[in-house]
Amino acid sequence: MTTKRISRLVLPMALLALLAGCGGNQQPQDTLTTDAADSLAQSERMGRTRKIFYNIPSPMETAALLKKAGANYQGAILNDVKNVDKYTAASKQALNLGVYGADLSYASVFNHTQESMFYTSCARRLADKLGVTSAFSDSTLELMEKHQNDRDKLLDIISETYWDMDRYLKVNDRDNISALMIAGGWVEGLYVATQVAKANTTPELRQRIAEQKLSLGDLLSLMETYGTDDQALNGVREDLKALSALYADVGGGGGGVTATQENGVVVIGAEGGAATLTDAQLAAITEKAAAIRNTYIN
């Protein structure tokens, strides 16, 4: 079976191979079988191209989850805006574009407009340095300033900018930069969540931190699709593996599901229990997340 990484990191060569290979010896198959395992096994037997996507929660989604979990806003824990000029290597710029993007999402979701504008400025400067200016233009900044008091509109603009930057990087064959940006944003999200939990641990917040085991697994899968030529990606991969080791014994949050109807709405439940963290696990993850994040921002 041919498996190709597409989606969040699309290698043009993979697409090239895909284009070159399409229309080949595909067996007729008109409908999905009713069993996924069987369908995948069939796919393997028939040599059909199967593409794997890796979906990492965006900084905005993570920030919204934090807010819903009872987290409060702590501006002091975010990356100092003065740091922006010290990132000269492209890898640091990419990681911190993710970091500032996460900080921007956090500030915006919690309606801290002034900080949002500061972090927008930082993200813009790094985007400039990385040559992503066309995806983060002056008109974007003007639009954000114009709507800075309209939280929903501001969140929409930030989402669209994130989308445009990611699109620009991938279309222009800079997947590694995109991957570093995504990883930087994810690490910053975990860092913020754990730091907020240090001051105010709610059961919901603790659960959200535990559940990051799932997205960490996806992020690692994504990073594993790269070769070992890029030293910055190798370093990030090792960082994530170190975090993953701390999550190894964290239970819940996966497995089989149940589906029921409640007032016309489908409700998906889990057969297993909710993800939980012991105090020791939380402390270890908090410490490791801070250590990794500090190497990115310094």
Binding site: C22, T31, A37, R167, A259
Partner: protein, 145 residues
């Protein structure tokens, strides 16, 4: 010899440009034609999509968080016609299924517990012709804050 090398290089460059262009078009298609279909859910900003041709399939693991409401949508360029897609859990149990002969564009649900589901999309094969139809397939997720 030189002519052959040059022709090969030009062909490779042309195909590379076509690949870039196809991916850019796929993202533009998703942004312009698919994102509006998520309303009133908020797009989660993650693009999962590629150019597929008949007989090909794609899959993505998605994490859904407890207490959130979601819309999962599979958005397909009309050149491909209808596709099959389904949501399965980690034990491969089908949670939702949309077949090409009775297509559904999206699936709305509430997550009572945090879980991971896998979306599998499969473009039905068609009788072989000289024309190979490729079209964008995007798997989109929206959530309610």
């Amino acid at each position: 010899m030189l002519r052959t090398t040059l022709a090969t290089a030009l062909l490779a460059a042309g195909m590379m440009l076509a690949a870039h262009s196809a991916q850019a078009q796929c993202k533009s298609f998703a942004k312009n034609k698919c994102v509006p279909g998520l309303h009133p859910y908020k797009f989660n900003e993650t693009f999962n999509g590629a150019q597929l041709s008949p007989g090909e399939e794609a899959e993505v693991n998605l994490t859904f968080y407890s207490g959130q409401e979601y819309r999962v949508m599979v958005c397909v360029h009309q050149i491909l016609g209808e596709v099959n897609w389904k949501l399965v859990d980690q034990n491969n149990k089908i949670v939702f299924e949309s077949m090409a002969d009775d297509p559904k564009t999206h699936f709305d649900f509430k997550a009572a517990a945090t879980t991971q589901l896998r979306v599998v999309v499969w473009v039905p094969s068609k009788p072989k012709t000289d024309m190979v139809h490729m079209g964008c397939v995007a798997i989109m997720v929206g959530f309610k804050e």
